[in-house]
């Protein structure tokens, strides 16, 4: 590596070396892409200089300055220990109480959550009593806020897994109206299931509910999730509600479905947060997808641009999603620590997010 070059990463995690000039060029291109896509302001020259310093830091691990620390929230609960590589789990079998307490007492977790192995609302319904018992048991021991977490995952409501016609299949046959109608029906069903599961788990003493990967099946999934959040909030004023997104833009599979008179397809993080606030969320989880063919610099600048505007527009705290393949972090099963800590510091100190 030449003296003027720096070790950095590509979006797929591969290590590369780049000059300061090339890194800055990628930072500028990344922020410009986000600004164009979201119709939001690009990062300032000062922001870009700070990002450049973070990326070019010669240390492997970087961190925020003392006093700038933020709250950490988690998805998939104990599955990060017990799961398989499909959810980046370690394949270590252990009880859910043990996993929660290890996070609290050994890993410095500010919050944690309980999760079903399928991590989706629908399969939790038949086992909700078991989930309630486990929630009651862990609440007796844990001190940190302890959520129940699940994805709305409306894909499970469509054929072949559920009772409603699959919009992708119907669209391919140009049955556009029917596809939209099936999405609407599935969204109503999802909202009812969220209300059912959410109310039960709150009755078991949960601190709240973490809705992970909202809108993964598109705009109708988002509306179903929002309606579920609204019902849960109405019945549980004390609930801590986290709404984390699936992507930087809400995919328009229906195209016209609305929440409180607003079309949700195509909403970006700074707009998504406003509808989540309306539904009754306490914290919004902003997501920006990583482009694996671009550099860490390009991805970080792009993600920080989206999240900075989101934080600016939000009336509630914003926790940036900094997992595999989001928030500038490379899409790789074991994301390199140098890239993870750089994204973490940038999101906190430049985007000014309230948590990670």
């Amino acid at each position: 590596m030449a003296a003027q070059e720096f070790y950095t990463r590509m979006g797929d995690g591969k290590r590369v070396t780049m000059t300061k000039e090339k890194i800055m060029a990628d930072l500028q291109a990344g922020t410009a892409d986000a600004a164009d896509m979201g119709t939001i302001p690009a990062l300032t020259a000062d922001d870009l200089e700070r990002l450049l310093d973070i990326i070019c830091d010669r240390n492997r691990v970087v961190a925020v300055e003392p006093g700038n620390e933020v709250v950490l929230t988690y998805d998939i609960g104990q599955l990060d220990f017990t799961g398989d590589n499909g959810n980046s789990g370690n394949g270590v079998d252990m009880g859910r109480l043990e996993a929660a307490l290890i996070h609290e007492r050994a890993l410095g977790a500010d919050t944690f959550e309980l999760a079903h192995s399928d991590y989706s609302i629908k399969p939790v319904k038949p086992v909700i009593s078991m989930e309630m018992q486990t929630m009651e048991e862990i609440q007796q021991e844990i001190i940190a806020p302890f959520f129940y977490g699940a994805m709305p995952n409306m894909g499970l409501y469509y054929a072949p897994d559920g009772p409603y016609g699959n919009p992708a299949d119907l669209m391919r046959e140009f049955k556009i109206d029917e596809s939209m109608q099936q999405s609407e029906l599935a969204a109503e069903h999802l909202a009812r299931d969220i209300e059912y599961v959410g109310n039960k788990i709150m009755a078991a003493g949960a601190d709240g509910f973490d809705f992970d990967t909202m809108a993964s099946a598109g705009d109708a999934d988002f509306v179903g999730g929002l309606k579920g959040v609204e019902a849960l909030r109405k019945a549980n004023p004390l609930a801590y509600i986290n709404t984390g997104m699936a992507g930087e833009s809400v995919m328009g599979i229906h195209g016209g479905i609305e929440f409180h008179g607003k079309t949700v397809a195509g909403l970006f993080p700074h707009q998504q947060v406003k509808v989540c606030e309306e539904a009754g969320a306490n914290v919004f989880g902003a997501v920006c997808n990583t482009n694996t063919s671009k550099s860490l610099a390009w991805n970080m600048a792009r993600a920080v641009t989206f999240v900075k505007e989101c934080v600016k527009q939000a009336s509630i705290p914003v926790h940036c999603d900094l997992g595999m393949g989001v928030g500038g972090i490379p899409m790789f099963e074991t994301p390199p620590i140098d890239a993870v800590t750089r994204a973490s510091k940038a999101m906190v100190e430049i985007a000014k997010c309230d948590g990670v």
Binding site: G11, D12, M37, M171, R172, G255, G256, F268, S293
Partner: protein, 213 residues
Amino acid sequence: MAGFENEKKALQDAMVAYKVPGILDAVEKARAAKMPANDIINAMGDGMTEVGVLFERGRLFLPHVLSAAAGMTKAMEVLGEDLKAQGGAAAAKKASVVMGTVEGDVHDIGKSICSTMLQCAGFDVHDLGRDVPKQKFIDECNNGCSMCGMSALMTTTMTVQRDVIEMMKEAGIRDKIVVMVGGAPVTQSWCDKIGADVYGESASETVSKVKDL
């Protein structure tokens, strides 16, 4: 296509506006101006590429993409006849492509969009849907498909893409097939590692890459 710039722009704009009557109207005007059928199809294909990009950037939604595709499909009924009349040959498909989400994986939307865009770009697409058994990809290749697109949305299923490539080698057909891979956890590194030919970060990028092959 010199001399038909206005028609070309009108056709592309009509595709981006995604309304079937508007697309058919633009096609009729281009035909009335004596624009060759092949050029009309190419202009609509360029418009469709733009539609795909706008979808990926959150400006257009899936019903709009499908509406534009429906408009193009409808227009092809007339343009196919024109092509025969003008050169004696019907619209030649670029290549036959088998598309599918690999077995064990039910994620479908991204692959479906990619299939639609390939179809609009002139490819003969055989979309097998989701959770497709490995052998089905091989069977389609043996039945004439020269391109094979496999989508995987999970780290646990992306390995199936490698399995199918190995099966192609065993069947002695690997060299005859262009293998495309895509999906959230799939990267250029993975594409290189398993010996696939094309990695698509998005549907529009995939179409753009295979058009250049």
